[in-house]
């Protein structure tokens, strides 16, 4: 993190949710601001310039998507959505509207912190300007296009590398199918998600220990793919918080 203390703005009408979010974020070294309505949240976002916004979708005065759109009209601050119902369509819509990622309630704090860190890392990327992305045993040099797995170089086809590159620039964050298809293929092939599925299969063969049980390049059903920052089992993912940086 570039700053000693990142400011996170929590926009959620449930006091109990805000309470545990505050505890979790403060323990992780964040300064916390709270807002219990969309109006308050937008005001706080404007005047306090937070580094990260956690936005609940079900607010009493305005729908989360509307808040997101207004926020995006003047700010690039990373936004992570909290949603109750896991509707893939809605997730995709929100990601398109400019959300950086989402978590579905009920969620563990570790999951949210991992997403937050990833979103912040991407937000401050230009300042750190480190061309090497690491994801568990994998390291991707975005400049030299060198991909190392357990410190050993692996060779990827042009499209495999392209896929990995896009995921690496969003490491820890979800990337939608649409985005991947548009950036990797051209013409009619852009609409064929089957190509993407098979390409992912091929890439997994090369980077995953067990391609049938992927731990690095994971699927977000109905939404897209995510390159994890580190190797985690799903159980650990729920439990342990990453160390405060």
């Amino acid at each position: 993190m570039s700053k000693s203390s990142n400011v996170v703005l929590l926009i959620d009408d449930e006091p109990k949710i805000r309470r545990f979010l505050r505890a979790g974020f403060e323990m992780h070294g964040f300064s916390v601001l709270e807002a219990e309505s969309a109006t308050d949240g937008l005001k706080a976002a404007m005047f306090s310039a937070p580094d990260l916004v956690i936005l609940d979708l079900a607010l009493p005065d305005l729908h989360g998507k509307e808040v997101l759109e207004r926020l995006r009209s003047w700010s690039n601050v990373p936004v992570i959505i909290l949603s109750v119902v896991s509707s893939e369509e809605e997730k995709v819509r929100l990601l398109r509207a400019g959300a950086d990622d989402y978590v579905v309630k009920p969620f563990g704090m570790a999951e949210l912190l991992a997403r937050s860190d990833a979103a912040l890392r991407r937000y401050f990327k230009s300042e750190t300007e480190n061309p090497v992305v690491t994801a568990g045993p994998l390291s991707i040099d975005l400049v030299s296009r060198m991909v190392l797995l357990n410190d050993r170089p692996i060779s990827l086809t042009r499209k495999e590398y392209r896929l990995l590159h896009i995921l690496a620039t969003h490491v820890g964050l979800v990337v939608t199918h649409d985005q991947l298809l548009k950036e990797i293929w051209t013409g009619n092939q852009r609409d064929n998600i089957q190509y993407l599925r098979i390409l992912v299969r091929k890439l997994r063969q090369k980077i995953e220990t067990d391609p049938n049980d992927p731990r690095l390049l994971v699927t977000e059903s109905g939404v897209g793919y995510r390159l994890k920052t580190r190797l985690e089992t799903s159980a650990e993912d729920e439990k342990a918080l990453p160390d405060p940086s």
Binding site: E14, K16, I17, R19, F20, L21, A23, G24, M27, V84, V85, S86, E88, E89, K105, P106, F107, G108, M109, A110, T157, R158, K159, E160, H177, Q189, I193, Q194, Y195, L196, R197, I198, L199, V200, R201, K202, N212, D213, P214, T219, S221, G222, S234, A235, E238, K239, A240, L241
Partner: protein, 492 residues
């Protein structure tokens, strides 16, 4: 009356009287016929002829006749009087019959109105009994059929032992044709008739039709039959009405249930999110982590919250199904991803079992709503874990079969009996033998099969029998393009 007519005619002068005689004497005949029937009318006819002969035809005050054509006149009059009395009395009978019929109809109408207000068998019984007693003016008893095949006498009067015996034999033989019994103590005749609706025999009516001539008894028996026929029509209508009412109530209950589920899920999710989130924050505190007791407590909170979350999730899914709100968003998906996601989502509930996962090479893609199939697969996985002992193996397998993709889950659990298999897929079905031992709401398989169906697939459950494990297979149409072929195309 004949006398009155005679006196009036006698008072008129002779010539006029003789002319009026045939017409005037018809009056008492017709009146007698319409008022009292054929026999009084016949008597009146003969009396009229006698009076006319005696009083008006010469020689007067004698029954002898001088003029032969007066004999013919009188004979003709007699014929006309008899014929018209016959006609008039028939008219009277007809009118009487109509009046009675109208009364019966009125009774029946009232009866069916009473039937319509009946909400229980007891109401029905008393309505039928009252009606029969009232319409026939005789004692009528209803013996209601019970579900165990016995007949129960309603408490409105004693039944002669002979009648009781023959009712018992009717039931014993299952022979519901009507019969007559004579009660030897009173010499009253009883008629036994079965009362049925479209679907079932409701009971037996025993009617005391009294004593009397064979004809009288026959006619009363016919009336009983007629009335019961009418009532059975009413019963048929009642059956239909009851079925409609049941359906309406059922629908209302369903709607209420759905609304309840929707609200429940929403109201429970928020606190649950706070519990689970708070537990996860606690879990990261070093002080709690370092103490085994506090750590296990926090773990218990997390586990239970996850369990509750899964339960609410199921209810939400069920609500989606009944609300008709599933419109699958089809997208090409990798079956491996679907299986993996389902296993990950149910991770906590599968920890007690050994999972063996096998995918065949070059699995075709499937065009499905991966969220729904994931749910369905997860539900089947959960069932496999629930109905098999801890530590046993659950084998998960994904393979291609004739252009389809088959995802199968095989457990080493309680298995399924052929009888249970028939009920599978019904909402809220749970087998008797698990109800006390394994918690659940019977929603899992129902949700799974609905979700798979909306994706154009099928679920097949097979089991070699009780205690021998169960295999659940989801079959989904696969992509017709070979995976290897796609691989080349995708990376050009």
């Amino acid at each position: 009356m004949v006398g009155v007519v005679s006196a009036v005619l006698f008072w008129l002068d002779q010539a006029t009287a003789v002319d009026l005689v045939p017409i005037a004497y018809l009056l008492p005949v017709v009146i007698a016929a319409t008022q009292w029937g054929i026999w009084p009318a016949t008597v009146a006819s003969i009396a009229s002829v006698a009076a006319a002969d005696f009083l008006f035809f010469p020689p007067i005050y004698s029954f002898e006749l001088d003029n032969p054509h007066e004999v013919i006149d009188l004979l003709l009059f007699l014929v006309v009087a008899l014929v018209s009395s016959n006609l008039a009395s028939r008219l009277r009978q007809e009118a009487e019959r109509l009046r009675r019929r109208e009364q019966e109809m009125q009774h029946l109408y009232e009866f069916s109105r009473r039937l319509a207000a009946c909400f229980s068998v007891a109401d029905l019984i008393s309505a039928i009994q009252n009606y029969l007693s009232y319409a026939l003016g005789q004692q009528a008893l209803f013996l209601a059929a019970k579900s165990d095949g016995h007949l129960e006498l309603s408490d409105s009067g004693p039944l002669p032992p002979a009648v009781h015996q023959s009712v018992a034999s009717m039931v014993a033989n299952g022979d519901m044709t009507s019969c007559n019994i004579v009660d030897e103590a009173t010499y009253h005749c009883w008629v036994l008739e079965a009362v049925r609706s479209q679907t079932a025999v409701l009971g037996v009516v025993a009617v005391n039709i009294g004593d009397g001539t064979h004809e009288a008894l026959e006619s009363r028996k016919h009336r009983v039959k007629d009335i019961l026929e009418e009532t059975s029509l009413t019963f048929q209508r009642l059956d239909l009405a009851r079925a409609m009412e049941d359906a309406r109530l059922h629908l209302q209950a369903q709607l209420l249930q759905d609304a309840f589920h929707g609200m429940l899920a929403h109201e429970l999710y928020s606190p649950l999110a706070a519990i689970r989130g708070s537990a996860s924050v606690l879990d990261s505190i070093p002080m709690i982590q370092s103490d085994d007791r506090t750590r296990s407590l926090v773990e218990a909170i997390s586990d239970q919250a996850a369990h509750l979350g899964g339960f609410i999730h199921n209810i939400l899914n069920a609500t989606r199904v009944t609300a008709g709100g599933i419109s699958p968003r089809l997208e090409w998906a990798d079956p491996r991803d679907v299986v993996k996601a389902a296993i990950t989502a149910r991770g906590r509930r599968l920890t007690a079992h050994k999972l063996v996962v096998a995918f065949s090479e070059n699995l075709p893609l499937i065009n499905v709503d991966s969220g729904l199939v994931e749910e369905a697969f997860g539900q089947l996985l959960e069932n496999a874990a629930k109905y098999s002992p801890s530590g046993s193996t659950i084998s998960i397998d994904a393979r291609a079969e004739h252009g389809s993709v088959v995802l199968s889950i095989a457990d080493q659990g309680v298995g399924i009996t052929p009888d249970e298999r028939r009920h599978l897929g019904r909402r809220s079905f749970r087998s008797q033998r698990h109800q006390a031992t394994i918690p659940g709401a019977g929603l899992g398989f129902w949700i799974a099969s609905t979700f798979v169906k909306t994706n154009g697939g099928t679920i097949d459950i097979s089991s070699p029998g009780r205690g021998k494990g169960t295999t659940a297979c989801i079959t989904l149409p696969g992509s017709c393009v070979e995976a290897s072929e796609l691989a080349d195309l995708s990376d050009e």
